[in-house]
C-alpha cells in the first residue's frame, strides 16, 4: 500500500526494512545511532536493531569507509554514512583507491558491496562546508556507481537496489529534498533499478537534462515556459554513473536541442560529460549548441544570505537558458 511520505522517511524505511530482511546489513557513521542522525534520517534504528547493527563511529571518515570495505569483504552489507559531502574528502582515499579498485585489481577475487550514504547540496543557507554537491568527482572513477534520487519513491527503491548491488554505490541525498517533497511510497519491498534515467515531463522543443534538486527547479521552469509556448522535455538522470545514454540520446534526437541543468559548478561538472557524449553521438541531430545552466565556478557557497541568493540556480536562470536555446 502506498502513502505519501517525505524522502527522509522513505530512506529511514528502506534502512529499517532491509535490516529486518537481511541480517548482513548494518549501518555506521557519526551521530547515526544515539542521535538518530543530524537530520534524523536514521532515527529509531538504534532502538530497533541495537548497537551491533547501528554503530556510532569515531570522527574519522577514512576508517568509516575502510571498516565498511573490510566488512563487505567478509560478506556483510554495510551502509556507512558521510554526514556531509563536504566531509567526504578524508574518505576519498578509501573510496577511490580501495573501493573502486578492489574488484579490478584482484580480477574479481575480491569485491566491495558497500553503499555509502552522503548528504549533499545547498539548502537553508548552510554555508561553505555544509552545502557542497560533489557527486561528479566520483563519476570520474570507474568501479563506482553514483546515484542521486530526487523524490521519496525513487529514494527508497534505489537505496534498496544499492544495498543489494554487488558493487560500491555512492548514494547522494540532497538535504533540501529530505522534507520538501512527498510522494506515494509503497510500504512493502520494491526496488528502483540503478542505471535508467527517467523522462519526468514530455516535450517537443528541447530536452533538459538534470538531476537531484535541480529536477524540481527544471520542472518548475518548464511549466512556466510552457505558458510561453516552449515545451521542454525534462529527463532526470537519477544515476550519474553508469550513465543511461540510451534515454538521453532518444530524447535529444526527438527534440534536437539540449539544455543541461545542475547545481554543481560549471567547469568539469556533469554537464561537461553530457555535452561531450551528445557531441559525439548526436551531432547530426542537434539544431543548436548544448547549453548549461549551473552553479557558478566559485570555491563554495558563501554564507551571507544575499551572496547565497546570488549563487543559487533558480527557475529564473533556467528559464533564461531555455529562452536562449529556443531562439536557435
Amino acid at each position: 500500500m502506498a502513502r505519501a511520505i517525505n524522502m527522509l522517511e522513505a530512506i529511514n524505511e528502506a534502512l529499517s526494512q532491509e535490516m529486518t530482511r537481511d541480517d548482513r546489513v548494518f549501518i555506521l557513521g557519526e551521530d547515526i545511532g544515539l542521535s538518530g542522525g543530524v537530520f534524523k534520517v536514521t532515527d529509531g534504528l538504534l532502538d530497533k536493531f541495537g548497537e551491533d547493527r547501528v554503530l556510532d563511529t569515531p570522527l574519522a571518515e577514512g576508517i568509516i569507509i575502510a571498516a565498511a570495505i573490510g566488512s563487505a569483504m567478509m560478506g556483510l552489507r554495510p551502509v556507512p554514512e558521510i554526514q556531509f559531502a563536504d566531509f567526504i574528502t578524508p574518505a576519498v582515499e578509501q573510496i577511490v583507491q580501495q573501493a573502486s579498485k578492489l574488484r579490478y585489481r584482484s580480477a574479481g577475487g575480491y569485491s566491495c558491496p558497500i553503499t555509502v550514504r552522503i548528504c549533499c547540496g545547498a539548502g537553508g543557507g548552510s554555508g561553505l562546508y555544509h552545502s557542497q554537491e560533489n557527486a561528479t568527482w566520483f563519476v570520474h572513477e570507474p568501479g563506482l556507481k553514483v546515484v542521486m534520487p530526487s523524490n521519496p519513491y525513487d529514494a527508497k527503491g534505489m537505496l534498496l537496489a544499492a544495498i543489494r548491488d554487488p558493487d560500491p554505490v555512492l548514494f547522494f541525498e540532497h538535504k533540501s529534498l529530505y522534507r520538501q517533497t512527498k510522494s506515494d511510497v509503497p510500504d512493502g519491498d520494491y526496488t528502483v533499478p540503478i542505471g535508467p534515467a527517467v523522462v519526468r515531463r514530455e516535450g517537443r522543443d528541447m530536452t533538459i537534462l538534470t538531476y537531484g534538486f535541480m529536477t524540481h527547479m527544471s520542472l518548475n521552469a518548464a511549466e512556466q515556459m510552457s505558458k510561453r509556448g516552449v515545451e521542454c522535455e525534462v529527463v532526470e538522470i537519477r544515476t550519474l554513473a553508469p550513465i543511461d545514454k540510451e534515454t538521453i540520446l532518444n530524447s535529444v534526437r526527438k527534440t534536437s536541442k539540449c539544455l543541461i541543468v545542475h547545481e554543481d559548478k560549471k567547469t568539469m561538472g556533469f554537464g561537461a560529460e553530457l555535452a561531450a557524449i551528445l557531441s559525439e553521438e548526436a551531432f547530426d541531430d542537434l539544431d543548436g549548441p548544448i547549453l548549461r545552466v549551473t552553479g557558478p565556478d566559485v570555491p563554495a557557497i558563501p554564507f551571507s544570505p544575499n551572496l547565497d541568493k546570488a549563487w543559487q540556480v533558480n527557475p529564473e536562470k533556467i528559464m533564461a537558458g531555455i529562452e536562449k536555446l529556443a531562439a536557435y
Binding site: 576508517i63 575502510a66 570495505i69 573490510g70 566488512s71 583507491q97 580501495q98 584482484s106 577475487g109 575480491y110
Partner: protein
C-alpha cells in the same frame, strides 16, 4: 609491556622444551624459502625478466615468518609492498607467486596488480593497493567483519615505520582499540622509510609506544630473532582470538637492499648495512638449530637444494604462462 628477547643465546634449554623440533624446522624451512624466493625475485628483475619494480624484504624475513607461520586458513593477512613473501608463508604455491612477478594471466589477479603487490583471495591475503597504510585500514575493516560474524579468525597487518606517520594508521588503530578488533599490527621498523631516516619520521624510539594512544598493548622486539617474533605473535594471536583486542608488535629489523630494486640506497651508511647483515635472521636461526643438533650441514644443504629446485620449477611455470589478453582490459570493473 616491552620485551627485548635474546633467547637464542640466553635460554637454550627453555627453547628446546617450549618448541617442537617440527615447529623449529618448519620455521627454518620457511625462512629459507622466503629468503631464496626473494633473492630470486631480485635476480629476475635485474635480468629484465619482468617490468615494474620489486621491493625486497631480504633481512626482514623473520618478521613475516614469525608472525604468520601458524595462521589458520581462515585467518587474514593484510600485506603492503614489501610483503610479497607473506603469500608464500600463507601457503601460496610458488608458481603463482612468480607468475605474479611476471604479471602473467596465471597470477591470482590475472596480471592486474604490480609485481610485489600480491594478494591471494582463497588464502585470505588481501590484494594491496600501493597506498601506504591502506592495507591497515581494509584489514581493520575485515577484523570488524570477523567480530560481527562471531568468528575467531585474526588479521595480521604488515607495515613499515613510514606508515605509522600516516593519518590512516591512527584511524585504523584507534577504531580497532575501541572495538577490540582481532588484529595483530606488525610494524616492521627497518629504520628507513625509503630514504627518510627514523629520526625525521617520528620523535619516538620505540614505535610500540604508539599503542598507548589507542588503549591496547604495544611490544617492541628484536625482529631478527625468529623465536622472539613467533612467541610474541602467538601471544598476540591468542589475545585476538579470545576477543581481547589488538596488539601493536614492533619488530625492529633492517632491509638489506634498497627501498626497491631501482634504489641503490646511497643514503645509508655502509657500516650500518654491514652491522645488520651480521644479524641475519636466517643465519642466526641456522646456527641455533645446528647447535641444538636439530639441523646438520647435510640437511641444510638438502633444504637449500630442494628449495632451489622448487623455485626453478615455479619460475619455469611463470615464464611459460601467457600474458593476459588485451581484451581483458575492461573486465572486472563491475560484478
Amino acid at each position: 609491556m616491552a620485551s627485548k628477547s635474546n633467547r637464542a643465546v640466553m635460554e637454550p634449554e627453555t627453547e628446546k622444551a617450549a618448541h617442537s623440533a617440527e615447529l623449529l624446522l618448519g620455521l627454518y624451512k620457511m625462512l629459507v624459502k622466503c629468503r631464496m624466493c626473494d633473492e630470486k625475485a631480485r635476480i629476475l628483475f635485474r635480468q629484465g625478466k619482468y617490468k615494474g619494480n620489486f621491493y625486497s624484504g631480504v633481512g626482514q624475513e623473520a618478521t613475516e615468518v614469525g608472525t604468520s607461520y601458524s595462521l589458520r586458513e581462515d585467518d587474514w593477512i593484510a600485506p603492503s609492498h614489501r610483503d610479497w613473501t607473506s603469500n608464500i608463508v600463507k601457503g601460496a604455491p610458488l608458481k603463482y607467486c612468480f607468475a605474479q612477478l611476471f604479471a602473467k594471466v596465471t597470477s591470482p589477479d590475472r596480471g592486474r596488480s604490480s609485481p610485489a603487490h600480491m594478494g591471494y583471495p582463497s588464502l585470505h591475503v588481501i590484494t594491496p593497493a600501493s597506498s601506504i597504510a591502506g592495507q591497515l585500514n581494509v584489514g581493520t575493516g575485515v577484523a570488524l567483519g570477523i567480530k560481527k560474524l562471531g568468528q575467531d579468525a585474526v588479521v595480521v597487518a604488515y607495515f613499515g615505520d613510514g606508515a605509522t606517520s600516516f593519518g590512516g594508521f591512527h584511524e585504523a588503530l584507534n577504531f580497532a582499540g575501541v572495538h577490540k578488533l582481532p588484529v595483530i599490527y606488525v610494524n616492521q621498523n627497518n629504520l628507513w622509510a625509503e630514504s627518510v631516516p627514523l629520526r625525521l619520521q617520528t620523535a619516538l624510539t620505540n614505535l610500540s609506544d604508539r599503542a598507548k594512544a589507542y588503549g591496547f598493548p604495544g611490544i617492541s622486539i628484536d625482529g631478527n630473532d625468529i623465536l622472539a617474533v613467533y612467541e610474541a605473535a602467538q601471544t598476540a594471536i591468542a589475545r585476538a582470538r579470545a576477543g581481547e583486542g589488538p596488539t601493536l608488535l614492533e619488530c625492529k629489523t633492517y632491509r638489506w637492499y634498497g627501498h626497491s630494486e631501482i634504489d641503490p640506497a646511497k643514503y645509508r651508511m655502509k657500516e650500518e648495512v654491514e652491522a645488520w647483515k651480521k644479524r641475519d635472521p636466517v643465519a642466526a636461526f641456522e646456527k641455533l638449530l645446528i647447535e641444538k643438533k636439530l639441523l646438520t650441514e647435510a640437511a641444510k644443504k638438502d633444504i637449500a637444494t630442494r628449495t632451489t629446485a622448487e623455485i626453478d620449477e615455479a619460475v619455469e611455470f611463470a615464464e611459460q604462462s601467457p600474458y593476459p589478453d588485451a581484451s581483458e582490459l575492461t573486465d572486472h570493473i563491475w560484478a
